[in-house]
């Protein structure tokens, strides 16, 4: 081959168009570079800060609610106009004691419900994401690393699952079991069910990505080296390949959470997810939908909560993706 040997780094891309060249030369780790880029991305940082605040809200929901002296379950029927069936005094019953108003018909504090709703939403979406990532990364790596029959079986399974009308399946699953099953009852059953359903139905997406990345990584020198040194496949997958998948997994997880939040909210909205009295944003929208003409407050509070949360995660996820992979620019 008649090429000039270029010792050291891989050939830097020639500066076509406006793609900035040359950063690789400065020798920062990809993670730090990404973090640097992320810090400059004000929109993504705003999303990130919101996400952190939401998580803190979920964790410290009781403390936060105690500031206003409310909990999400106590009814305040006296705040509801018995004839009009809306909070007395307009503005959805907003007052210094109920800063976001109260719900209808029992007058539970909306602020407390929406704050506890963050627990439900983030908890379910988060755990479901963990499940999806665990299955997707595990199977994706196995499929990509071993190839052959194992790959075929796993890939086919992913194809089949992607061809399922997932939403209908999820509705069927959560609708068919009723109030108690598997020794669990009520919302406990529903939470567990939702986590598993959502997690189980969203793994093939990450599975595909991880499989593709693993196929590439498998051929890389350091994996080859580990293999030559006699490392077991398990060790190679966990110690060599997995660390190199952190970035796509992180990005994908961040983008999966909002879609899972929407998934949970949609099921609850349809009445097959979380049910009152447990606060869930989708369920709150469902309760409010019959009333929004006269009491929009009741709808806007949980609706905005869903909207802002999903938006914040999307912003952060986009920012992370751009930071790790500037070519997929926004």
């Amino acid at each position: 081959m008649t090429t000039i040997l270029e010792p050291g780094s891989a050939p830097a891309a020639e500066p076509e168009a406006a793609a900035p060249p040359g950063e690789a030369i400065e020798g920062r780790s990809p993670g730090r570079i990404a973090l640097g880029r992320l810090k400059k991305d004000k929109v993504a940082m705003a999303g990130g800060v919101t996400v952190v605040l939401l998580i803190l809200t979920a964790i410290f929901a009781p403390q936060l609610c105690s500031l206003t002296g409310n909990d999400p379950y106590t009814t305040h029927t006296r705040l509801i106009d018995p004839n009009l069936q809306i909070p007395s005094g307009g503005f959805g019953g907003m007052s210094s004691r109920h800063i976001l108003g109260v719900d209808v018909p029992t007058g539970r504090d909306l602020f407390a419900r929406v704050v506890y709703g963050a627990r439900t939403s983030l908890g379910i979406a988060g755990l479901a994401t963990v499940i999806a990532i665990a299955i997707g990364v595990g199977l994706g790596m196995v499929a990509g690393y071993f190839g052959g029959l194992i790959d075929s079986v796993i890939s086919r399974t992913m194809d089949v699952m992607l061809a399922f009308p997932l939403f209908l399946f999820a509705i069927s699953l959560s609708g068919v079991l009723g109030y108690s099953a598997f020794g669990l009852t009520g919302n406990t059953l529903r939470i567990v069910l939702l986590i598993f359903i959502i997690g189980f139905f969203s793994w093939p997406y990450i599975g595909r990505i991880v499989r593709g990345q693993t196929l590439v990584l498998r051929e890389r020198e350091f994996v080859e080296a580990a293999r030559v040194l006699g490392a077991t496949p398990g060790r190679i997958i966990l110690r060599e390949i997995l660390p190199n998948l952190t970035a796509p997994i992180l990005v994908y997880a961040t983008l999966l959470i909002p879609s899972n939040i929407l998934f949970e909210a949609s099921l609850s909205y349809l009445g097959v997810g979380i049910r009152s009295p447990m606060p869930s944003w989708g369920e709150m929208v469902n309760e409010a939908i019959a009333l929004y003409q006269v009491d929009p407050e009741f709808l806007i509070v949980p609706g905005s909560a869903i909207f802002l949360t999903v938006l914040a995660f999307n912003l952060l996820g986009d920012g992370l993706r751009d930071a790790f992979d500037p070519k997929a620019s926004r």
Binding site: T77, P82, Q85, I86, P105, G186, P277, N286, A290
Partner: protein, 586 residues
Amino acid sequence: MRKPRIAAYAAAAALAFGAAACGGGSSGGTGAHSSAAYDVGLAGTVNKSSATGHGTLRLEQSSDLQSTDPGNSYFGADWDVMRLYTRSLVTFAEAPGPVKLVPDLATDLGTMSADGLTWTFHLVKGATYTDGSPITAQDVAYGIERSNWGQEVLPNGPTYFKQLLTDTTNYQGPYKDKNPADHPSGIDTPDSDTIVFHLVKPFADFDDVLTLPSTVPVPRAKDTGATYYEHVLSSGAYRFDSYAVGKELDLSASPAFNAASDPLHLHVAHAARIVDKVDVSAQTVDQDLLHGTTDVDQSGAGVQTATQSQVLGNPRLKAEADDPITGLLTYLTINTTIKPFDDIDCRKAVEWAIDKSAVQTAFGGGIGGGDIATTVLPPTVPGYVQQDLYQSPGHTGDLAKARAEIATCKAAEHVTDITTQVGYYIDQPKDKPVADVVQQNLAAIGITVTEDGFKYSQLSIKAGSQSYVKQNNEALFITAWAADFPSGYGFLDQILTPDGIKATGESNYSELDDPAVDSLMATALKTTDPDARNALYAQIDQQALKDAALVPMIDSRALMLRPPNLTNAYIEQAYGMYDYQALGVQ
């Protein structure tokens, strides 16, 4: 989203303002020509008109009919609609005010034999189906047989006849036993105009039972079992044109109806056509009512809360609204066999603790929800007497008395902590907030209550199952009850006597087995004088509350709209909604 309405399952309730009022004669506006004003449809007819075959009456509802088959529905609203295209042996007088039974296909109300066990009816002359064929006593008998003995095909309707009539032949029903000669021994049809019923025990309210659509005639040859609902052979004033599940029911004035067979003019086709759109969203129903694009909400459920505020805030709209008592009682049952609630003091503590005022708000307030109930019988059912054994200011409960009772109970039962479970229907949106209130009220007297919501369809494996409630320590249950037919027996028997105690499919959720109640009921059933009978029903009501077997909470009301072009609009108290047979449009 569509949610099945429990209220509609338990159907008709009855009669006007208590026994006293009943004896006192006519209530206000019967037959009066009322002009539109708030609540005038309760006691008078709005926009009286005798026009026939005029225009299209448009009905809408947010759910679907359970069935259009007269033998396969337990929905009161369905029964109200069925009167448009069917005739039963006995029916309700077509007039506002207290319910009055009148013969329809029968020439007269029945007479009880001396032993109280035999009832004989004759059919009116000249009654035909829309295809012109004559209605026979055999058809009436077949209608009862298929709906009561053919439950494997028609599972939804009431089965009173199977319980009340003798059946020595162990009849298997027309779908298993296809021999037309086989019948239950309790029904005789000596000729095509006569039908004779043989009862297993004296039953003074038998006429009431005959109002059920079970007695609608169905010719054996036309019966197509489970799909009969698609093309019911009409015996009423309207022809059954078509019904598309989840979409609409179409009826039109029947040219073949023989008015001579209807001397009381119960079946007059005021409209030329009737279109009943089903599964329309609740908001749309209300919007259509407000904009005059539909004439009546067929479910009789009342308007949505959003619309309620709109209607009450607008004098013109308010004048076009009625807020009747629907005859549906929402109450909390306390199981008398589950510890520690087998101790009457614990049950009394619950009676005192419940804040019925908060319950009322949670249930939708005084107008959309209903009145605070202090008796088992609603004010519209015979036997009702105003009383309140557990009186508290503003119906907010009496914590001091409740705490005293619970202390007594704890001491007697040697318990320190009381925990139990409360069942409620999750598909009945108003029950859930009530459960929340109950939970809070009982927490205030140290009873920890967990909620157990389930679908109505699971009732017989949840609160309706004795083993389930005992295993799950579910002593409390929030449910609603309306009589299947308008009498004290119809309301009280199934919920207060051992007749309603069953291993599954229970309806006496308190499992109350009080000899005092039972003997009062037996006496009432043998008492032919209505006033004396109703007085006995009132005593039963009182006794059950002394036993603290249940906490009456709400007598439902529903705010209903009657747009101005609706004629002959009044509330039929038997159904707690407008009488569809009488309606017409301008």
